[in-house]
């Protein structure tokens, strides 16, 4: 089965967990949102952990053409398209191809990538992805590298590098921070540092309340949802630093 799947992937199909024809929470306006299988992070608070494994025989394999076919009448209703995951950029060749097709056929649609920022987007192999993507939505899980490793099993050096790189290119729509009550994961430090980076720009900051829904049982134990007070405090800190749009979700 797995061998068959890998062959399919080599013929330019991607594992698509689900597609929302209409989404109002994955960037500006009404967007088609595509969620890919596979993630190189293992976030403790991941609310759809079934999308983490790189191979999942349960999910649908789709070609660029399959997705373009769906856009037939649908494109009239959309501001754009957002790819997410799992970690979308692991499918960068597929996405580059998809975005190229979309830009050719529906130039009014904007193409967004929701990413954990783990792959160095300044590398040459991402050139087409960078050229076809209008904006990125970047998750910064934690500023402190120990906290980041503890939360995701991975380092955050590249994430921060991508943050700078994408800010310079004016390619960020929003930065997202999941906020926990446990300060050991450094939510406040993360919000402060991200805010310093994106202040006085039009980049939005989305503060996401950690919710236990969908989270793996064994992980839930050590995570605590933030208080309203904490969310508001972090929002105020960020606004004071000079971030133009802060949203609590």
């Amino acid at each position: 089965m797995e061998k068959h799947l890998i062959e399919e992937l080599e013929t330019k199909r991607a594992q698509v967990v689900k597609i929302f024809k209409f989404s109002n929470v994955d960037g500006p306006g009404n967007r088609m949102a595509i969620f890919f299988q596979g993630c190189n992070f293992n976030c403790k608070y991941c609310h759809n952990p079934e999308t983490i494994p790189f191979i999942n025989p349960e999910v649908k394999l789709m070609s660029v053409k399959d997705i373009m076919d769906m856009l037939g009448n649908l494109h009239y209703f959309l501001e754009g398209i957002t790819v997410s995951g799992g970690e979308a950029t692991l499918n960068y060749e597929f996405i580059s191809e998809l975005f190229k097709e979309i830009k050719g056929k529906y130039p009014n649609l904007t193409c967004f990538v929701d990413t954990n920022g783990s792959l160095d987007l300044s590398e040459a192999k991402f050139e087409q992805l960078m050229n076809t993507t209008d904006k990125f939505m970047l998750d910064v899980k934690a500023w402190d590298h120990t906290a980041h490793e503890s939360l995701t099993d991975m380092a955050n050096k590249i994430v921060i590098k991508n943050l700078d790189y994408l800010i310079d290119l004016n390619k960020i729509y929003e930065v997202r921070v999941v906020v926990l009550e446990n300060e050991i994961f450094g939510s406040e430090e993360t919000v402060k540092n991200v805010s310093e980076k994106i202040k006085n720009t039009d980049i939005k900051l989305k503060l996401i309340k950690y919710r236990p829904h969908g989270v793996r049982e064994e992980m839930k134990k050590e995570l605590r949802p933030p208080s309203v007070k904490k969310m508001e405090r972090l929002r105020d800190i960020s606004l004071e630093i000079g971030v133009s749009g802060v949203q609590i979700i």
Binding site: K21, F22, N24, N73, F77
Partner: protein, 496 residues
């Protein structure tokens, strides 16, 4: 108890509601329309319904005075001169509205109020105060939310003030529609949507489609009815299609016998009612709206309504499973189109002196939103509440029906509060819907107090007062409560 005495002594009606009900009762004691035996039978068994319009219609059902003309000329009968400032302008309109009858006795159309007031907006603070008083006055005195105002398509200062005031007041009356086209700024459209997510209005009408159908000026009135400005509709008679379908032995029998027979009777009955208004009631001869040229007889028509298309189709196909039903199966949807195009052909083929020359002497087709006593008859061509598919599929399914109904059709979509953070997403949806042939789009938000029942607006909190046996200001609140309880009108699928 004697009916009149029952009305007089009721503890559930306001004084105004008693007076109106006594008038209705008086009208019901005379019998002047020479109905055929066949239509009497249809009316009795409920296949045809004239919406309790009364036995002796003495004013058209829907009236759309030419308010632009009024603003220019004033009125001799009302001894009103044209306004010179915003307070005179709103005051003149408020006076005029009290003299515009309709089936509810109150006006169902208030004009394109942004365009009417824009010339008088000199100082925005002053205009804000005048418009706030104006809208509050309308809600408290026109106590029936079939009353409808229009704005747009172009962005105006008055239009923005109207939206702002509506967000603040959160009142059901007047209903509001934004005439939307490519000249409407995205900014105004997004403001309109944000307003709608707070207070369930405005709806969006595709201005280009309505302008084409009505050769220029038109108004959206009552629930969502497109009609000609300076005219209106004399009457509305409707068929309950589910009930009708039960009389058919087969699909062929339905199309060959059942449907043509009832359609012919309905058209004759619309003529009969219109004839009385036009030839006997003296409305067009004596009412100042006509003698001063705010209305013209030739711009009036009659409305042929339908409800229960979904249930009719499901019955004819004996569809049990969701995938075989109207809204899902291509066969069922096509049968729905076959039903409406057959009725449209009967309507267009029926030339009558009782529909105005403007309409080429034909009546108009109307997808009626239903009334609180309908049983298992979904509004017009809508998919039954609770069975709605995903919003994209829903719009694609319903779009082909819209071209048949210049005088009113539309769905209501309920959005969750996440849309308040991204109203632009709803604008994208509306733009797409109009590109795929929809002509009208309504919506509200799950957490609104003001909600859209079938087309008109009601406050949930007022329906709750009725639940507790208290008297309420607006007659539509009782209708809303009926539709909420009998028609599941507030159980629509939430889009999130």
């Amino acid at each position: 108890m004697n009916k009149a005495l029952e009305i007089v002594t009721s503890n559930k009606m306001t004084f105004e509601q008693k007076v109106i009900n006594l008038a209705r009762y008086a009208e019901s004691t005379i019998d002047v329309l020479e109905k055929s035996d066949r239509i009497k039978e249809y009316l009795e068994n409920g296949i045809v319904c004239d919406l309790f319009e009364g036995n002796a219609p003495y004013r058209p059902r829907y009236i759309l005075p030419d308010y632009e003309k009024f603003m220019k000329t004033g009125s001799k009968f009302l001894e009103l001169e044209p306004a010179t400032n915003i307070f005179e302008a709103t005051n003149n309109l408020l006076i005029f509205y009290k003299h515009v009858p309709s089936i509810t006795t109150m006006p169902v159309y208030l004009g394109n109020i942004d365009y009417l007031l824009e010339p008088y907006v000199k100082n925005e603070d002053e205009a804000y105060l005048a418009i706030k008083l104006f809208l509050k006055h309308i809600d408290a005195t026109i106590t029936d939310s079939f009353c409808h105002a229009n704005i747009g398509p172009k962005d105006t200062k008055a239009g923005r003030i109207i939206l702002r005031v509506m967000r603040e007041l959160q009142l059901p009356t007047p209903n509001l529609t934004l005439k939307y086209d490519e000249t409407t700024s995205d900014e105004l459209a997004v403001q309109a949507i944000s307003t709608g997510l707070i207070t369930a209005k405005p709806s969006f009408a595709d201005n280009r489609k309505f302008e084409k159908d009505f050769k220029g000026d038109y108004g959206i009135v009552s629930c969502y009815n497109g009609l000609k400005v300076g005219g209106g509709a004399n009457t509305l008679v409707r068929i309950r299609l589910r009930k009708l379908s039960l009389q058919a032995k087969s699909i062929e029998h339905f199309f060959e016998t059942v449907l043509p027979e009832v359609s012919e009777e309905v058209l004759k009955y619309i003529d009969l009612r219109s004839k009385f208004i036009v030839e006997e009631s003296n409305f067009f001869e004596s009412n100042f709206l006509c003698t001063e040229g705010f209305l013209a007889k030739e711009k009036f028509t009659g409305l042929f309504g339908i409800v229960g298309l979904a249930e009719c189709v499901n019955n004819l196909l004996k569809a049990e499973k969701q995938e075989d039903k109207f809204g899902y199966s291509a066969i069922a949807n096509e049968l729905g189109i076959r039903v409406v195009s057959a009725i449209e052909a009967y309507i267009k083929g029926h030339k009558t002196p009782y529909a105005g020359e403007f309409f080429d002497n034909t009546h108009l087709f109307h997808s009626q939103v239903g009334i609180e006593t309908d049983e298992e008859e979904s509004p017009g061509c809508r998919i039954p509440v609770g069975q709605e598919p995903e919003i994209f599929d829903h719009i694609i399914q319903s779009a082909p029906f819209h071209k048949y109904f210049p005088s009113g059709v539309g769905d209501i979509f309920v959005f969750d509060e996440t849309y308040k953070r991204n109203p632009e997403a709803i604008l994208n949806i509306i733009k797409g819907a109009f590109k795929t042939d929809l002509r009208f789009f309504s919506y509200y938000c799950t957490d609104c107090d003001v909600v859209r029942i079938t087309g008109y607006l009601v406050k949930r909190s007022e329906m709750e007062k009725l639940d507790r046996g208290q008297i309420v200001l607006r007659d539509t609140e009782a209708l809303g409560k009926g539709s909420r309880d009998n028609g599941k009108a507030l159980d629509r699928r939430v889009r999130n």
